[in-house]
């Protein structure tokens, strides 16, 4: 686990008692109808042991030709990739492990290395749940660029069904 950055990235800890039309806190802010550069791949559903901490691996992919900042960019002005989770009742996401970024440099600035994710990357969420069926709803907040330009921060939706036995 040496190459893993462990970080608490749970920004919204919510009960499941929200009215159906009520917006979750992370649904406000940046509009989410724009082109996405990151896609959640899988799993759609996992089965874990009830009342024990389990690791759920969340697989994402960045569109070819683009990169996003890692969870720990080297400059404070750069926007880190974060996972924003709404916890349903009976389930907690204790921490999320983010992979280390890979080095990337613009051709014009070869000495200034950015810490980025490209291609497929995996987050490891440490989950503990009571027996039953749960739905983790989350959003991956990221800021994407290609070699020539950058796009404002966006949020990729994530949904994982959790069966705890």
């Amino acid at each position: 686990m040496g190459s893993i950055v462990r970080a608490v990235a749970i920004l919204a800890l919510l009960g499941a008692n929200l009215a159906p039309t009520q917006k979750l806190p992370w649904e406000s802010g940046e509009p989410n109808n724009e082109k996405q550069f990151v896609k959640f791949l899988y799993p759609e559903q996992v089965t874990i042991a009830a009342n024990n901490e389990s690791v759920v691996e969340l697989h994402f992919t960045v569109s070819p030709g683009f990169h996003i900042n890692s969870h720990t960019p080297r400059e404070k002005s750069l926007i880190p990739t974060q996972l924003i989770v709404a916890e349903p009742a009976g389930l907690t996401v204790r921490t999320v492990d983010f992979p280390q970024g890979e080095d990337f440099a613009l051709t014009s600035f070869p000495n200034e290395k950015l810490s980025v994710y490209t291609g497929e990357f995996v987050l490891r969420a440490h989950v503990k749940a009571q027996a039953g069926e749960h739905l983790i709803q989350a959003q991956l907040r990221y800021q994407a660029c290609d070699a020539m330009s950058c796009f404002p921060p966006r949020k990729a939706p994530v949904a994982v069904g959790v069966i705890a036995k």
Binding site: G65, F66, S149
Partner: protein
């Protein structure tokens, strides 16, 4: 018999010559293709964008081509109000950027130098920050504005840096990609626009066009 041997030898020499010549031509062609393939991204044309297989956005079309630049009034990083109308009769470069935009930081030092070079001819550059601001939290807003100012100082920006109020980008076509730059001539008309990092020479040519002393202007096309 001797004549026949000479003819055979000559034929072999000619054949070898043709093969060698074809080899040289082929080698040169291959080298030229390799050189083209190795063209560095520093050429900074849209064709180089990212890498092969990129999900390239559709080609940029200047939404304001030959239209009057939309008016705006914004506060700069010192709280001073700045309007586009303040610069009537000047050539104005409106550059949308953000502190989190690495390609913007490549372009800004070029803009700074070009500002020095052409200010005496009537060039004004306005950098409009598209950084997200937390308008509901005064302390956060203050911190965010300070960070923009620090970033501008670090980059050595020598022209006004304005803070977008989320209303200016819209009439300029939405500005979803940074940097996005508009070139406004002395009559207030948008004569060029670019999206993403472009070559320094292209920026300078657009500045000349806005000033009215570019090649096209000289031909009476401005």
């Amino acid at each position: 018999m001797v004549k026949r041997n000479v003819a055979v030898v000559l034929a072999v020499i000619v054949a070898l010559g043709v093969i060698a010549w074809a080899g040289v031509v082929n080698y040169r062609k291959r080298k030229a293709e390799e050189a083209r393939a190795k063209q560095p991204v520093i050429v900074l044309s849209k064709a180089d964008a990212a890498s092969a297989g990129a999900d390239e956005p559709p080609p940029f079309k200047n939404p304001l081509e030959n239209k009057q630049a939309p008016a705006f009034t914004l506060k700069d990083i010192n709280g001073k109000k700045v309007s586009l109308a303040d610069y009537k009769g000047k050539a104005v470069v409106v550059d949308f950027w953000a502190t989190w935009c690495a390609p913007c930081k490549v372009e800004i030092p070029w803009l700074t130098k070009l500002h020095d070079q052409y200010a005496s001819q009537g060039l004004v550059i306005l950098g409009i920050s598209e950084d997200d601001l937390d308008a509901d939290d005064k302390a956060a807003l203050f911190k965010e504005k300070r960070e923009i100012a620090e970033s501008a100082q670090k980059l050595g920006i020598n022209y006004p840096v304005l803070i977008d109020d989320a209303k200016v980008a819209e009439p300029y076509g939405g500005v979803d990609q940074l940097p996005t730059t508009f070139y406004v001539d002395r009559s207030g008309k948008v004569v060029a626009a670019t999206i993403g990092l472009v070559d320094r020479d292209e920026i300078e040519a657009n500045i000349k066009k806005a000033l009215g002393n570019g090649e096209q202007a000289q031909k009476g096309e401005s």
